[in-house]
Each structure stands twice: as structure tokens, then as C-alpha cells.
Amino acid sequence: MKLIVSIVLTALLSLAACLYLPWWIIAVVAFLVAAFIPQKPGKSFLSGFVALFLLWGVLAWFLSSNNNHVLAHKLSVVILQKNSAVLLVAVTALIGGLVAGFAALAGSYVRKKG
């Protein structure tokens, strides 16, 4: 249950915070959620990772599909040297996931007794 709550909360708070703040606020959000909802470090990492992997993956995919992937095809070549809209979405999701995952991992150690 905690896992689901953490994932949903991290995703929703990140979505809201990113409306006004720079992208890296997702790290702060994931850190705080993990600090306030204690879980094992592994699970915290997982909740941060999954939250942002899904959030960024879904957002990017949604924006890109509405665009018929026109820009993704062009920019995947510029950024990844490979023409693949899916891959660009996947890299986006992975970046969000990794940053939030590690931030959540750090957050989990705030509460956890040694």
C-alpha cells in the first residue's frame, strides 16, 4: 500500500511542482515523499523510479502522439543519433525514473535507523 501511495504521491506532486519550478524539483519531491513515507530503501527507490518513469513516459508519449511524433522523429536523431520516437520517450522516462529513484533512496535514509 505504502508503495502505491508513494508512487502516486510522488507523481502527482512532481506534476504540480513542475508547472512552476525547474525540472529537478522532481528530485526534491521524491526525496520528501520518501522521507515522509518510510519504506525500505529498495522500495523507496522503486517508488521514486516508477513514479517518474511512468509520469514522464506517459506525458512524453501523450504529447508526442498528439504531434504524430513529428518532433520526436527529428529530435531522436539529433539527441540519440537514431530515428526512434519510442526510444526518445523511453530515454525521457528513464531519466525521470533514475533521478527520482535515487532522490527517493536518499530520502528513505532520513528516517531509517541504522
Binding site: 506534476l15 513542475c18 508547472l19 525547474p22 525540472w23 529537478w24 528530485a27 526525496f31 530503501p41 509520469l55 514522464w56 506525458l59 512524453a60 504529447l63 508526442s64 498528439n66 504531434n67 504524430n68 511524433h69 513529428v70 518532433l71 520526436a72 522523429h73 527529428k74 529530435l75 536523431v77 539529433v78 539527441i79 530515428n83 526518445l88 530515454v91 525521457t92 531519466i95 525521470g96 533514475l98 533521478v99 535515487f102 532522490a103 533512496l105 536518499a106 535514509y109 532520513v110 528516517r111 531509517k112 535507523k113 541504522g114
Partner: protein
């Protein structure tokens, strides 16, 4: 709390964030770029994007309503004269901000701020040419005139109102990718933009190349290789026109022969030069030649093709006028278009208005130079370049009575210039207000208004074609042109006294023009403005072939419809080939050829001279001609300096057409005397390897060989933003002058019937966003030679099904 793991995992997170937010480790700040709410995904414009908006700006005086049609063309309705330009500035910025800023940065020699040292040579070249100096001079005039002041102020306010709405997420994608922010727009930037067009259109000269050619060849050879007039010339203002004697009496310096015409010094400076092929077509036919009985005006300016396009289509309406046409993102007004009364179009005048003078400084300090038998003080302008990722670079440029000393010991345009000093005298440095010409045309009601409008056009001089609903047609080879003595400015001139300076400008009244001529049409295609009876020196090097074919067609056409004009504007006929081919076919023996040779010779024999996209003969001809040129001239030019003018195609054609023993046909490196037959045959044989190779690669068709592409302004780095392999025919000498990266940048046809029937297309799209479906959606239509009907929307048509979105601007 577990301190160690906390520190480690926080450090990892921080490391990730920093490396994804900067370029320290990665080539790009990937986190920032890919964040769906901040980065590039925000530029992936939805196919259902909603452009409706209600906007409030205290800068406005009244209400502005903007209707965007299905092609994203804004139809702007303003209640007063200044708000219309505010909205135009806002819309230009909304759809084209990045390009506007990049082009003005390029004009101002500020690209180093974006790309670093890579652009230093370009930037120094432009500053040393005095681009900013010239734009500042223009700005003074623009701000002294009520009409241009009002429009520029409102336009700038509109651009800045848009910039103020920008956040990290809705920044144009190029800023995100290149990692910088837009700065505020200023009136100076509009002046710079227009000055950039001057550089593009009136920056051409071959002074160094000609100087070297003069020095390398004998006087007789020079005259033969670079003849002054071409006798198949069909000038803009027809032969036989009577000109009054000139009002300016010119004095050729007494020592011109020794110091100038027969000076044998070689200079070697190579500079960044505008594309030679910047040209265009325009024509207007009177009602006597049209089906409807109303005049038709056509224009297609040929420029370097780029994405986002140089042009942006718009309608501007105020209570006093309605105008529709192609606008420059970067400047207020409509540049080429039509209103409720008249239509106009331009082609480049192409006369030489940029000359060089050799300066003698007293010493290396450049503080004083010898002029009119005295040491004259130099003025210095210190140019600072804020080079990205590098220290500020300072360049001190000396200014003389002629203009800036562009080339000196510290700057040779990339090549040694023997440590000599060359000042540039460029007409675009003079105070002028070209914008006024266009703003007045936008509102012109008749021929007199047209005359008054174009009188403001100084540089770049343009051939203005005109037609009105009252039935008038006209053309003026308009500009402020230096009155030169014969040969003045062809070569580098001595800069030690005033006798070699320009002695005056040709008065407005002595501009070659035509008004309702008997032949019922006017036209221009960058050819010589007038024949040799025109009393002022016009220089050389005008392209002649498009003019010939346009006039031949217009002469023959009657009962003309706009559709006929579409066919004419997109005509691929190669009149140059028509003139050359009989000479080739009569001189390349068809006996004794092997199978492949016969095959390609037969291909040429059956060619209809159309550079159609699938024509293999057009490619064969093109290769054959370039090999022929080599066979003729390679021997003479073998030991020539690198920087030298190559004879124009028309010069070589004239040579072989009229002189069966054209001197240069002989290869001076052999014992025997070669003839036209020898050179043509050799060229044919030399072409075969390339022809066979192309055929085997499946690239012998003209459009594949020519490979027309339209690159993004940063296309070298952002390749996927380019459009490549566009299937289109035409070429240099065809009316459809589409080359590999250059061609008709806006095609417009206006029939001046009471309701105006107009068509147009440009190779691009209204949006500058590579992630928009409006980025390049006109290109296929343009390539196919098709047009969009242009819609001059009127009040009451707000509910028309072509209206897709509405933007309201209120106070």
C-alpha cells in the same frame, strides 16, 4: 538516520541532476531538455493545436482581431494604424522569434555569442563591412520619419509583448537545444534585418577578382574574357528607349590609365560573398493581354532557401487600407503583395554599389592616412565580440572618408592580402529609409503613390513592377545608384585622393522606367537595366537568359489567365541550352561513337530543353557544359591567382556563337590548334564517366542530380530539421530558377480584377517550429508548381469556414 548511505545517495542524486542539467558530462542537458513539462516535448505541437487566444496589452490603443486561416495565415484587423504593427510584431515573434533573432545576430556580427569562436570570422567580416554602422544610420532616418517611427515602435512593442509571455516551457525549441535565451527586440534589430537584405542583395561585387583578372591577363584578353555588353541582351527597359543626356557630368581622373586601368598589381583577398544567383523574376501585363481585361502582376524573388522561411504570409487591415502578401519576420509591413488598389513585386537591381579603395596609412598605428595631399585623421570604432565560452574579443576598425577599412594586417577575410589596407565604400552605409518604400506601397492607391513610395528605395536597389486596378502597369529600376564613369569601381581604386570617389548619385528622374508601354507588358529578371545608350555606366555580369525567355513568352501570350501565369512562373525551359545545343550537336561527331556514347548523344538530340525533374538529358547537358568550360578555359587559367573572376557562362556562349575562331578554344599547352569541335568532343568524352556513374546510381534524372534541399538555419547541426531531395525541376537559366539550395522563395500572381484574384506559395510553412505541422507544409505544393488561392478577407467573413482560430487583442 543513516548518514553514510544518505550522503552517498544524495551525492548520486545531486550528480545526476547536475549532469542532466548542464553540459559538463553530456553533450546536452538531457534532463532539462527531456522534461516533458519544460523541454522539447512542449514544442511537439499538437495536431489539434488551439491558436485561439484572448490577450490584453496596455500598449494597445484599440482592439485588434486576428483570424488565422487553415494555412495559419493571420488576417489582422486593427482599429488604428499603430496597433496593426503591434499585432504583426507579436505574431511574427509567436511563430518566428528564433529566426528573427538569429538573422539579426548574423547581421550584427553577433553569432559568436551563440556558437562561439566558430563564427568569429563571419562576425568580424560583418562588423568590418560596417553592418551595425549602416543599420544605425538607417535607424536615424527611420526614427526621424513619422510613419516608419510609428510602425517600428509598435512592431517592437509587439515582439517584446510576446517575448514577455515566454517561459522555460514555451521557448522555441532551438533556444532549448542551443542553450540560450532571447533578448529584447529593438528598432535597431529591424534596421539590422533590413541591412542584412542589403548585404544579401546589394553586397555583391567582384572587385578583387576583377583586379586580379586585369592584372593577370593582357588588356585585349581581359576585354574578350569579360566583355562589357552581351549582344543578345534584352534589357529590362527595351532597346531603343531614348534617354536624356545625363545631368551629372563625370570626370575620369587623368591618371586613371596608369594608376587604375593598367595597374598590374595582384591583390589576394577573398571574402564572404552573397550568393551570385540572388535574382528574381517579375512582370506585369496590361488588361489588353488578359482574359479578364484586368492587369496581372507576377513576382518570384529567388533567394537562398531556408527553414524557417524568410517569408511569412499575412493580411494587414486598418480602417484606411487592406494589404496582403509576404512579410519579413523582423520588420513591419508587407514587402511583396497587393492591396485593394494595386499590386507590386521586386527583383534585385544587382548593380555594383560596393567598391574598394586602397588606403595609405602613415604607419601601423592607422591613425592617419594620406588623402588629398595631406595626412587625414582616422576615426576608430572598437568592436567587441562576446564570444561564448571564451574571452571577449576586441577588433579596432579604422574608418576613412570612404568607409571602414575592412581588410588590413589583422583581417584579410581568411587570406593574406599582402598586409595592405582596403576601405569599402558601400551604398548601404548612407542614410536611407527603405522601410518607408514598403509601408507606402502597402497603402498605395495609384501610380503616383507608387512613384512616391519607391523613391525611398535606395539600397538594395530593386526593379519594382507595378499594376493597378485602374489599368496601369509600370516598372522602375529603382535605387540610389552611384553615377560612375566607365569602369569605375570594377577594380580596386586608389584611396589617396578624392578624384576616384563616387561623384554623385543618379537622380530619380533619370532612372530607367516604363509606364504603360506599347508592348503591354513590363518585366525584369535581373538583366541589364537598359541598353548601351543609357548615359550612365552599368557594369557587367547581369544574368541575361531568364529575361529572354520571359519576354519571348509574354510577347506571344494573349488572353492570359492567372493559370497561364502559373505555368509561366514554373516553366522549366532552359533557353541557355537552346542556344548552346546546336553548337554542340553540330560539332560532336555522331559517327565513330561506341554504344554508350551514341546513347547519350541521342538523349541530347531528342531533348526538348526542358529541365523537367525526370529529364536525364538536362543532367547530361549540365555536365557537358561544365566540362566544355573546363576544356576551353583551364589552360588559360592554370597559372592565374586563386582569387580571379571566371568568365560568365554568357561570355563563353557569346564567344563561340559569334566567333568561330574564338581564341580560347585553342589549348595553349598543345602544338596543334584546337577548335570548337575538338573542345566539344573532348568535353563530351570527359563527361561520360560521370554520366555513367550517375546512371548506375540511379541519379541521372535532373531533380536527383540537382538534389534541391531546404536547410534549417542551423541545418548543419540540426539535420533532421532540413528537407532534402525535393523533386523539383528548373535551374539557373529557367524561369523556375530552382537550384540546389536557392530558388523562388515566394511565388505570387495577382489579377487586378475588382475583387482581386491572387495566388501564392512559398517553400516553407507559417510556423518556425520544427515540431509543428505548419513548419514545412507548403513545400510539396511549391515543388509541384501549385499555388494556394490568397484570401483577402473582408469584414463580415468572420464566420467563413476558412477561419480556424481567432486571437483577440484588447487593451
Amino acid at each position: 538516520m543513516r548518514i553514510l548511505p544518505l550522503i552517498i545517495s544524495t551525492a548520486i542524486t545531486a550528480g545526476l541532476v547536475v549532469s542532466l542539467n548542464t553540459k559538463l558530462l553530456l553533450p546536452a542537458p538531457l534532463g532539462k531538455l527531456l522534461s516533458p513539462q519544460h523541454g522539447i516535448w512542449q514544442n511537439a505541437e499538437s495536431r489539434n493545436a488551439d491558436f485561439n487566444a484572448d490577450l490584453q496589452f496596455p500598449q494597445l490603443k484599440g482592439k485588434v482581431e486576428v483570424y488565422l486561416d487553415d494555412r495559419l495565415v493571420p488576417h489582422v484587423f486593427a482599429e488604428n494604424e499603430s496597433d496593426v504593427f503591434f499585432a504583426q510584431g507579436f505574431l511574427h515573434a509567436k511563430f518566428r522569434l528564433w529566426q528573427m533573432e538569429l538573422q539579426t545576430h548574423a547581421a550584427a556580427g553577433r553569432l559568436t555569442e551563440i556558437v562561439g569562436n566558430l563564427a568569429l570570422k563571419h562576425d568580424r567580416e560583418f562588423r568590418r563591412l560596417g553592418m551595425v554602422f549602416a543599420a544605425e544610420a538607417s535607424l536615424k532616418e527611420m526614427e526621424a520619419d513619422p510613419l516608419t517611427k510609428l510602425s517600428c515602435d509598435a512592431y517592437t512593442a509587439g515582439v517584446n509583448a510576446y517575448i514577455a509571455t515566454l517561459t522555460e516551457s514555451n521557448l522555441p525549441v532551438e533556444y532549448k537545444l542551443l542553450g540560450y535565451q532571447p533578448e529584447k527586440w529593438t528598432n535597431l534589430k529591424s534596421a539590422l534585418f533590413l541591412k542584412n537584405m542589403s548585404e544579401n542583395l546589394a553586397g555583391g561585387e567582384d572587385d578583387f577578382e576583377m583586379t586580379n583578372a586585369r592584372s593577370f591577363f593582357t588588356k585585349e584578353d581581359f576585354a574578350k574574357l569579360y566583355p562589357l555588353r552581351q549582344d543578345s541582351l534584352d534589357p529590362i527597359i527595351p532597346k531603343g528607349t531614348v534617354y536624356n543626356s545625363p545631368s551629372i557630368a563625370l570626370t575620369i581622373p587623368a591618371d586613371a590609365d596608369s594608376l587604375y586601368f593598367n595597374n598590374k598589381e595582384i591583390t589576394v583577398t577573398r571574402e564572404e560573398k552573397p550568393d551570385k544567383s540572388n535574382g528574381s523574376n517579375n512582370w506585369a501585363v496590361s488588361g489588353a493581354k488578359t482574359k479578364s481585361g484586368a492587369p496581372i502582376l507576377c513576382n518570384d524573388p529567388h533567394l537562398g532557401l531556408s527553414l524557417p522561411s524568410l517569408w511569412f504570409e499575412m493580411q494587414l487591415s486598418t480602417p484606411t487600407y487592406n494589404v496582403y502578401g509576404a512579410t519579413f519576420p523582423g520588420a513591419p509591413g508587407v514587402i511583396i503583395g497587393y492591396n485593394d488598389n494595386v499590386a507590386w513585386g521586386v527583383t534585385n537591381g544587382g548593380r555594383d554599389v560596393r567598391d574598394y579603395y586602397e588606403i595609405k596609412f602613415k604607419d601601423d598605428s592607422r591613425k592617419e592616412y594620406w588623402f588629398d595631399s595631406a595626412w587625414k585623421k582616422t576615426e576608430f570604432r572598437v568592436e567587441a565580440f562576446n564570444v561564448k565560452d571564451s574571452a571577449t574579443y576586441y577588433d579596432t576598425v579604422a574608418y576613412t572618408v570612404f568607409g571602414p577599412v575592412m581588410y588590413d594586417k589583422s583581417f584579410s577575410g581568411g587570406r593574406a592580402s599582402n598586409g595592405r589596407y582596403f576601405a569599402v565604400r558601400w551604398k548601404a552605409h548612407d542614410h536611407s529609409n527603405e522601410l518607408k518604400a514598403f509601408l507606402q506601397l502597402d497603402q498605395a492607391k495609384n501610380y503616383d503613390d507608387y512613384l512616391s513610395a519607391v523613391s525611398n528605395m535606395k539600397t538594395p536597389g530593386q526593379n519594382f513592377a507595378f499594376a493597378s486596378k485602374t489599368g496601369d502597369i509600370a516598372i522602375r529600376t529603382q535605387g540610389s545608384w552611384p553615377a560612375k564613369w566607365k569602369g569605375q569601381g570594377d577594380f580596386i581604386m586608389p584611396g589617396t585622393d578624392s578624384r576616384y570617389m563616387w561623384q554623385g548619385m543618379i537622380p530619380f528622374d533619370e532612372t530607367p522606367f516604363q509606364y504603360n508601354p506599347e508592348r503591354n507588358f513590363v518585366s525584369s529578371a535581373n538583366q541589364d537595366p537598359a541598353d548601351s545608350t543609357y548615359p550612365y555606366y552599368l557594369g557587367r555580369g547581369y544574368p541575361i537568359f531568364r529575361g529572354i525567355i520571359i519576354n519571348r513568352n509574354l510577347q506571344a501570350m494573349n488572353n492570359i489567365t492567372p493559370q497561364d501565369m502559373m505555368a509561366l512562373q514554373t516553366n522549366n525551359y532552359n533557353v541557355f541550352a537552346e542556344m548552346v545545343m546546336p553548337l554542340f550537336l553540330n560539332n560532336i561527331p555522331s559517327i565513330g561513337l561506341n554504344e554508350t556514347e551514341s546513347k547519350y548523344l541521342n538523349l541530347l538530340k531528342s531533348w526538348d530543353f526542358n529541365n523537367s525533374p525526370d529529364s536525364k538529358a538536362a543532367t547530361v547537358f549540365s555536365l557537358l557544359w561544365s566540362n566544355f568550360d573546363k576544356a576551353v578555359f583551364d589552360d588559360e587559367f592554370k597559372n592565374a591567382p586563386d582569387v580571379i573572376l571566371h568568365p560568365f557562362e554568357s561570355n563563353l556562349l557569346q564567344g563561340i556563337l559569334h566567333d568561330s575562331a574564338y581564341k580560347y578554344l585553342d589549348n595553349i599547352e598543345t602544338q596543334q590548334t584546337e577548335t570548337l569541335a575538338d573542345d566539344a568532343t573532348q568535353a563530351f568524352k570527359n563527361s561520360l564517366a560521370d554520366i555513367k556513374k550517375l546512371e548506375s546510381q540511379g541519379r541521372l534524372e535532373w531533380s536527383k542530380f540537382k538534389s534541391t534541399h531546404i536547410n534549417h538555419l542551423f541545418g548543419l547541426k540540426l539535420k533532421p530539421f532540413n528537407r532534402v531531395n525535393i523533386p523539383v525541376g528548373g535551374g539557373t537559366h529557367s524561369i523556375n530558377a530552382t537550384k540546389s539550395d536557392h530558388g523562388p522563395s515566394w511565388r505570387m500572381i495577382v489579377s487586378l480584377t475588382p475583387q482581386s484574384e491572387a495566388y501564392g506559395v512559398y517553400p516553407g510553412g507559417q510556423s518556425g517550429n520544427p515540431g509543428s505541422r505548419f513548419y514545412d507544409n507548403f513545400i510539396d505544393k511549391w515543388a509541384a508548381g501549385e499555388y494556394y488561392p490568397l484570401w483577402m478577407m473582408t469584414k463580415g467573413e468572420e464566420k467563413d469556414k476558412r477561419v480556424k482560430w481567432k486571437m483577440s487583442f484588447t487593451k
